[in-house]
Symmetry: C2
Subunit: 315 residues, 2 copies
């Protein structure tokens, strides 16, 4: 049964990377009508592979909201096949990035539309409509804005090279963004209309910071109630390299508190795993609950809790 | 059981388009050791689709010799899936050309290698090795040499647009080839070393003529014994639009004889379906036999018959 929608906020904007953000967005999309929720999604991970323009975070969010994402592996589509990849590997061409056959269809359609002169925003809208995604998903930027990981051992690595090809092994010294820091007009407009901003439990350095670094985003957030959910639970990241990035980039052990400190005075409230309640920054309202999102009902449960908490403490 | 190989000829070159040519090549490959048979394959049908460089005839020949081709449909791979295509159609992107998932792997690998600066010859060699194809398959040309179909109703159409998108409906007025008429050095070299040329039962206008129109090919053939097999059986083409093209381009009914007349004095012998024995051009040795190739054994049977016939009549 669909739960009743939450109406305390007119317009919630969620900043998101891939998996963790997508799961929370999936819950928020069940708690909020499509005109009350907008996702602004990191495009710093976008890259070209096999000549195709790939947007890992946009696709993870899109597939997740479409109910098509793989239930456990955290990327890609449920029931996906890998026939093209198998042939490419057989030919000795680069097969280090796992692209499924249906996923390939997405990248081909996007790449053709980009060559045709459409913006990433327009294309994302087309793809989402085709997959019956009802809530707006906005790329943070239309122009490429690639994230680079500066390392001592391998120099500056494009993000996907660092993450997938090098398995996030080279210690990051700094994270840099290249290209124009121009948000999409729709993203900036959504922030200007928002009455609540949720920073989803995505990686702060490589999923959320790319959004925050765009012109006008931090300024907009300073005038809005901002609630961040920790991607670190009990000192560990649910997925991805974050737990190793915090010591490397912030010289402290991985913790929910380290993430909140990273966002600093942008935050007006936080949410984190119940066992981590001691990590709530002094002076900030904090919701300690179960944040490890399992199935879709559990995601919706967390979304309602967050919205109730925000309605109570941030208005 | 593998039949003994045929040793009457040191070096047989077969000119080939897609399906019909590929079937006969499959038989010839069982009759001749890899150092005694070279395929020169039409690349006039090559085109770009979904941003990928597609070589329909090269792929049909390669898949067929690899034993991977679809047993009945005449193109593509056996047991192929179409997951990427289904997604692309769902997104409303061009889905009129059926590309399977494994086939897509071939086109992606080829396109990447072309961008990398490799020649089509080098790439074809790499792909064939990966698929354990033992007989050399040579593209007729490395540079694009696209075939156009001039029509009254739709103007000049690129070949695949005419064949697939327009289902070969607009009557052809003429066939034209664009781009430099330069054969690959390996193809020309194979012809200079050949002691028999077989024109496979492919479409003379759009599969064989593109090869014959390259610099030096007709000259080479004039000094060699040439055996052509008719792609027309009982006035009909086994596959494809040839039966309608002959009336449109040659103003005569479709027949084996019309095909042989088209090749004219290049031919030293012909082979055709037993019932069409009256179509053998006067003065030319003709083999009337079963040319409708079924399974792989039947293809090998025809190949041995052709080679025996050529050994007897053309040396």
């Amino acid at each position: 049964m669909t739960p009743p929608t939450h109406t305390a906020f007119r317009s919630v904007v969620a900043l998101s990377g891939g998996v963790g953000g997508a799961k929370l967005l999936d819950g928020l999309a069940r708690a909020l009508d499509p005109d009350r929720l907008t996702a602004i999604v990191n495009t710093g991970d976008d890259f070209t592979h096999w000549g195709l323009h790939i947007c890992p975070d946009l696709d993870t969010v899109m597939y997740t909201l479409a109910g098509l994402s793989h239930p456990t592996q955290g990327w890609g589509l449920a029931g996906e096949s890998f026939e093209a990849l198998a042939m490419i590997r057989r030919y000795g061409a680069p097969g280090w990035f796992q692209l499924g056959d249906r996923d390939l269809g997405t990248h081909i359609a996007r790449t053709l539309a980009l060559r045709d002169g459409q913006t990433l925003s327009q294309i994302t809208d087309t793809l989402c409509r085709a997959l019956n995604v009802r809530h707006p998903i906005l790329p943070m930027a239309d122009a490429p804005r690639p994230t680079f990981v500066d390392t001592d051992s391998h120099g500056a690595l494009p993000f996907q090279d660092w993450l997938v090809l090098h398995r996030a092994a080279p210690a990051p010294r700094a994270i840099r963004f290249e290209g124009p820091p121009t948000p999409t007009p729709a993203a900036l407009d959504a922030l200007h209309r928002a009455d609540l901003v949720i920073i989803t439990p995505s990686n702060p350095y490589v999923s959320i910071d790319p959004i925050l670094a765009l012109d006008g985003v931090r300024d907009a957030l300073r005038h809005l109630p901002v609630l961040a959910i920790s991607p670190i639970l009990g000192g560990r990241a649910v997925k991805g390299p974050l737990a190793d990035m915090i010591p490397a980039l912030a010289a402290k052990p991985p913790s929910a508190r380290a993430v909140f400190d990273h966002y600093g005075d942008l935050l007006d409230a936080v949410a984190l795993e119940a066992d981590d309640a001691d990590q709530i920054p002094p002076g900030l309202p904090g919701l300690a609950t179960s944040t490890l999102m399992g199935d879709r009902d559990d995601r919706a449960r967390l979304a309602f809790e967050l919205l109730d908490f925000a309605a109570e403490r941030l208005r």
